[in-house]
């Protein structure tokens, strides 16, 4: 008998970290000091807040540099950072710091904005809880994943790779290890929440099964 899959959901409370930046240089300095949870929040949570923009979604750092600092070349480079590339926040932190460093070179000073335009580093405190959906077969999974709330898809699909420390998500991992559905697992693994509205991803996953 395969072990059942228990759908979990997540809700996130946002909090201010005490760090804020007024220039690309200070953004870089803060990136070296803020918590991993803060970097994670600014890289990933826009997928929730702006899910209906799908392909236009960019991380919070890129958006601030673009809209507020007005530094489009740097914003373009930050926007190209794929959050899914990293299974460790440390790696994302290193990439962001070096990217800004390379762009700024050795300059000590760049354009700075006023106090009311700063980038305020926030972080999320996550609450995870069972949705009550439990499945043991592919048919049941297909039915329930369609109904699963976006927060649950986020938890199993977006959060999981970091939690597991691999580039896998909970769905593919379970389908492969418990049901032996390696091909379906691979098709789901290839999905990107940056190409499909997160709120429609459950339906897409069900179709691929």
């Amino acid at each position: 008998m395969p072990a059942p899959f228990l759908f979990q959901s997540t809700a996130t409370l946002t909090r201010y970290t005490g760090f804020s930046a007024d220039s690309a240089r200070s953004l870089q300095r803060c990136l070296a000091r803020v918590s991993g949870a803060s970097i994670y929040y600014h890289l990933h949570f826009n997928i929730f807040r702006r899910h209906f923009l799908t392909s236009e979604i960019i991380n919070d750092f890129a958006r601030w540099v673009w809209v507020t600092l007005g530094d489009e070349p740097l914003a373009e480079q930050l926007a190209a950072v794929d959050p899914f590339e990293f299974v460790k926040i440390h790696d994302a932190r290193t990439r962001l710091i070096s990217l800004i460093g390379d762009y700024l070179g050795q300059a000590d000073y760049g354009h700075a904005v006023g106090a009311r335009q700063r980038f305020y580093f926030q972080e999320g405190q996550s609450f995870t809880f069972p949705t009550g959906q439990v499945v043991s077969s592919a048919d049941q999974f297909r039915e329930e994943v369609r109904k699963a709330p976006a927060e649950s898809i986020f938890y199993h699909f977006v959060v999981a790779p970091l939690r597991l420390g691999t580039k896998d998500n909970d769905f593919s991992s379970w389908l492969s290890s418990e049901l032996g559905l390696d091909k379906a697992a691979a098709r789901i693994r290839a999905l990107s929440p940056y190409e499909t509205d997160l709120f429609k991803l459950g339906g897409k996953i069900a179709e691929l099964l």
Binding site: S9, A11, T12, L13, T14, R15, Y16, G18, S20, S35, A37, R49, R50, F52, L53, E56, V67, T68, A115, R116, Q117, R118, Y120, F121, Q122, E123, G124, Q125, S126, F127, T128, F129, P130, T131, G132, P149, A150, E151
Partner: protein, 414 residues
Amino acid sequence: MPIELPKKSLDDYARFVGADEIREIRTLAKYLHGASIQHINSTAMGGGVAELLGYLIPLMRDLGMDAQWDVMTGNPEFFAVTKSFHNNLHGGADEITPEMYRAFLDTTERNIGLLRSGVDFEAIHDPQPVGLVKARGGKGNWLWRCHIDLSEADLRVWGFLRPFVDRYDAAIFHLPDYAKELSIPQNVVPPAIDPMTEKNAEMEPSEIRSVLDKYQIDPKLPIVLQVSRFDRLKDPVGVIRAFKLVVHSHPCQLILAGGGASDDPEGERVLAEVREAAGTDSRIHILALPPNAHREINALQRGATVVVQKSLREGFGLVVTEAMWKAKPVIGGAVGGIRRQILHGSTGYLVHTVEGTAFRIRQLLGNPELREQMGRNAKQYVTENFLPPIYLKKWVMALLSMKHGARESVINLT
């Protein structure tokens, strides 16, 4: 003084945010079932705080919590002191004397009897009752909900209040921009608008039309609207200048609608400046409306083609939220909460100058499809972020956070 409130059901909001969201909130709130919470603030009537508590508390009760609301009492001297504190916390420079600190502490002392014994959570709103924390006992978690911007707070007043704030378990601010460096977790919970109030409820086209008729506004000519009190920080004269840059190439009309200025000498002066800037242009409608003209404002927002909020400084800017809820693209000054609401290029535009405002008005007037798309995005953004169920959900999380460990990054509820 306990405040009585009518019942509300969270399920009534399912038609706005969806049944899934309501189910999520109820699931999360199971972990607080039966918990008692006492909210304390300084007024039961008027102002945004009373409005928020008016729906938050009945919704908490609907989730199975024992939620109560009490209002502290004080004499006129105390409220004069807290008014000066308020001014200085916003960057003002009122004179603060030792007697004022004494009056604040005396009134705090007299209100300690208001605290209900044995409650699980004390939620204290704003600076007036902040000192009640001195009476905290061993049981219960204390939360300070700050509704004002402390970023430019006068150090004397903040230095006096901060030791009280540090005795709480956590704080909540509207925006991270408003927070201070504190030793306690600072949660960020933006305010919300209620789609079931007169300000925001659906409206028949005939009612919108009759309001436009009442103010002799041509329903066939595109409408550019700014709703705000007549205050220089809302830059109404700047909006008129932007309108004048646009109107020769894109026929339209401008409505500047705001609260009456009869009790506010500064407002009267600004209103006079606005009238002078408008001159005899019949396409500019300046409407000084009474404070309770909620349905009329609602109708004007729904009748508008493009909404502007060209503030030079702003709090959260719920008037922007209201316009977005009505599926209007908003052109807003890139300040305060406007920056958090307008997703530049997706739900509207952030602007810095009169010329930038004019450019974006022209762009939106000339692109009906763009307007509609941005309006849809704007409404969806409000639906998912700034309606009462979302506000309630964040409160539930803030309480769970204190119950289970405010410093943990992940809390597993089983």
